[in-house]
Symmetry: C2
Subunit: 316 residues, 2 copies
């Protein structure tokens, strides 16, 4: 019954109209996330400045994870002859409409899907991608860039961002471990055990940091492994570590989503330990963080190791 | 390569362990939403009281869209002999663990999937479901209940909620239509056109209401059609109408997510008109709202008709 209705619909003009409207609607869902990126003017203007610095008249550009296509349109305005705009979510339909409305659709070629599967008809002068997650790597940007360098970029071409660092600090967030208590007289402890094995996007306050932030890793490949040691600055309960990124877009333009940064579209990534423990001012805390692919993460704070096998962070 | 790796993994014990961890992790993602439901004590305690009112020692209960299984566990505590807990999202794995931890797994039978495809081995005394969206119907509760009444419920059995009303009022929300402006010197108007054809979950303030709320429809089937007329109470710009629900759980227990309600896990549904227009105190505004399935919605405010063909609301 369903299959027949679907077949009939696909063969009628009005069916086509309905399919078109439905998929627009899916694009609008994802647009909502992208609107928060657009509204972060610190983020968007930094990328605009980087594109204006780097893109020359006649350049060919690849924009990976183009979203609404705003960076692709910036590249056109900076003089790009051709932009390959690659996006795997439905928001690419919005990007097509915006490119058309702004008169760039003859210069932007949209490619729906993952850049890892994309084939471009020519090599590009510039690869630009804004696919940093809250800790930098959790949208798999490092693998995306490594692949794009091999598959898309000319010798001597430029990548935006040109470098990425992971920065971290120990954190006291006393409410975190209290959020899965016994509820309504029922035992919810099984959930708590799972939740402390994932990382979480949290807006961390500077006052929650227990030491001066330190660079854990400078990332240049899909795999990242880093460690840091901090001297705790006050007696507190240690809840885990916060991790964020610093991205060098060009030699003169960088952005970093540290706690209370002016960048509004990113929080920080919180990597909890199993149970809070007391730390004293002057005590040294060490942590290691490792991922092979941006998806599976292992972290260790002093002796205790936590692992998450799926990198989609959850919000709390 | 991928397929082979997958096959190998499926045949090894360690592969099974990894699959288990991965799917737990997916369950944790959806748990985050369900935690917001649990933390809404007004919502959860109203359902608990309704279940305690209705469920008798030895009853058989179906909990549709059981989430973390908390209502199923309440039913067990109220004396249910057997609860069929049906859930189509991965959070059902969390529900299984919680049922086990709380000693109810011998009385709760979990069924993964949509209730529309479920077959129960016996008829039930009570159907309970908390699948109201922000306007009541947008999680398709009306169709769910109509089906459950036919397929699962004994003659003379009880459904929680026993009735559902949609309530609405005209709204001034001046910022709504200004949220898709020209950005960074680019034209974003194509997006605006799409966005005003969807409804949106918004937290509406009482001060934004332009008239006394009125019941638009009392819902008793998957289809709902209703209308209301309001006398505007002050000169304002009309942006659209807000719609919420009142659910009668039992004859003595009701919940309603009106603006500034104590129910924290629901907002209101905002149905925008294409462009705000001036209204005067004393003017009468009429609106109609129609859905056949909770997915496709048509609304008309005075002469102007808007349609959304996919009911997943977006947040702004």
């Amino acid at each position: 019954m369903h299959a027949r209705a679907h077949d009939a619909r696909a063969q009628t003009p009005s069916g086509l109209v309905m399919q078109r409207k439905l998929s627009n609607s899916a694009a609008i869902q994802t647009f909502n996330f992208h609107r928060s990126l657009l509204e972060d003017s610190a983020r968007t203007n930094a990328y605009r400045a980087a594109i204006e610095d780097v893109v020359r008249e006649g350049d060919v550009v690849a924009d990976i994870g183009c979203g609404t296509g705003i960076l692709a349109m910036f590249a056109c305005r900076a003089g790009a002859r051709r932009v390959y705009a690659i996006e795997e979510e439905a928001v690419i339909e919005i990007a097509r409409e915006l490119a058309h409305a702004n008169g760039f659709d003859d210069r932007i070629t949209f490619i729906a899907g993952s850049s890892l599967n994309a084939a471009l008809p020519e090599r590009v002068d510039v690869v630009v991608t804004e696919t940093m997650g809250n800790n930098g790597l959790d949208e798999q940007i490092a693998g995306t860039i490594a692949h794009a360098r091999d598959a898309f970029l000319k010798e001597g071409g430029t990548i935006i961002p040109r470098a990425l660092e992971m920065i971290a600090a120990p954190v006291e967030r006393s409410s975190f471990h209290e959020r899965w208590p016994s509820s309504y007289g029922l035992d919810f402890s099984p959930v708590r055990e799972h939740v402390v094995n994932l990382f979480h996007p949290l807006a961390i306050a500077r006052s929650e940091l227990l030491a001066t932030p330190a660079t854990m890793a400078r990332v240049d490949a899909p795999a990242a492994r880093g460690s840091a040691a901090w001297t705790i600055t006050r007696d507190a309960m240690l809840s885990g570590i916060a991790v964020w990124f610093r991205a060098e877009l060009t030699p003169s333009i960088a952005i970093a989503n540290e706690p209370e940064s002016e960048l509004r579209c990113w929080k920080q990534s919180f990597f909890p330990i199993a149970a809070p423990r007391a730390v004293r001012a002057g005590e040294v805390v060490r942590a290691e963080l490792q991922t092979f692919d941006g998806i599976e993460w292992v972290w260790r704070v002093d002796e205790e190791t936590r692992t998450t096998l799926k990198g989609w962070p959850i919000s709390v």
